[in-house]
């Protein structure tokens, strides 16, 4: 699947905006992405390994709730990671 990254997350993926990930589920894709781009791990996951509540994750444009991250996804699917808001 393609994982699309934008905005404040770009610096954690070395400014790659569309990344091909081979994984059976959204959850596995995020884990794979975090392995490939280590700085992204702390951004996506809290210290207990859960996806941070401030991350918004979309599958083919539809928002996913935390309990939907095990959704299966194939080559043609697109996962989008969005940061809702940052505090400065």
């Amino acid at each position: 699947m393609i994982v699309r990254v934008s905005g404040a997350l770009l610096r954690f993926t070395d400014y790659q905006r569309a990344i091909n990930v081979d994984a059976p589920t959204v959850e596995a894709a995020l884990a794979s992405l975090a392995s490939e781009y280590q700085p992204l791990r702390k951004v996506l996951f809290d210290r207990n390994g859960r996806v941070r509540a401030t991350q918004r994750i979309f599958l083919n444009g539809e928002p996913l709730e935390p309990d939907q991250l095990a959704s299966s996804a194939g080559d043609a699917d697109c996962v989008e990671l969005l940061l809702a808001i940052s505090g400065g």
């Binding site: 934008s6 905005g7 404040a8 997350l9 770009l10 610096r11 954690f12 905006r17 700085p39 702390k42 951004v43 809290d46 941070r52 509540a53 401030t54 991350q55 940061l83 809702a84 808001i85 940052s86 505090g87 400065g88």
Partner: protein, 283 residues
Amino acid sequence: MHRFCAYEVPVDTGFFTPHHLQPAAICRLAFNGAGRWLSRHVISHRRLVVEHRTGFVYWSVQVVTGDRVGFFDADRLGVTVTGRVRGGGTQVECDVDVSGPLRPAGRPTRLRAVCVPLLLDGGPALSGAPARLGPEVLSAFLAEEIEERPHRSPLPALRAAIAARGAVLARGRAPFVIHRHQCEVADQWFWPEAVSLAGGAREELVRAHAERVAPLRLAMQAPVGRLDLLFNRPFFLFDEGAVLSTAYEWEGRLAFVHELVGTGAAGDEPRPRALAVEQFTCD
């Protein structure tokens, strides 16, 4: 008595247009001033983020331009800042006066900004969600600096009034991409950029239509008299957007309503991420 910060800032030419203070410069001065007030009387912005995992996003801003001041009028600008919390700690409000050499009864340029505290999730992207200020931070405000009543943005009613009773002079669309020099530390746009983007879109409207629509020329001949901003959602690094601008003649004023929308392959986002209303009047 509300605690305040009063200080002077040496002027540079970048603070000014030929007519008055640059609106974006006022916003930058005010942001810095609000941080100064917070640091002196409550806690520094840096410590707030690091120790209390609390950040801010600007939500509602009003600027009312005072007596004209230009680069050649003074070596320094005077800045006075007060601050308070509202809505049970769900809003932090600051008032910033910026003045040149005031004559008796002179009017400073006044900015009121209302921020929403965010509880940061502890990650390196500084992402967060709106939350009340924690009790430790809240206790650093004086009783007279705590107001229960929340601020209500005047912008939605203002925009509706202009659309209902104003006469449309021109419409325009100015695309943009957010680059890092327009962002703050988290690669999120620095909110005064909304003022710059709206101002640029307004000038494009004037450039395109002022030969045919003479009233638009006032926007280049006079300073912005009043500016209202409302932020719904930020833009981030490399986000694409457009300023959708409409110029109106409204109650003897020239008014510009700017919608800053995100754009993409699916078209314009239906809800503006930010709104700006600029008003100009003849002196």
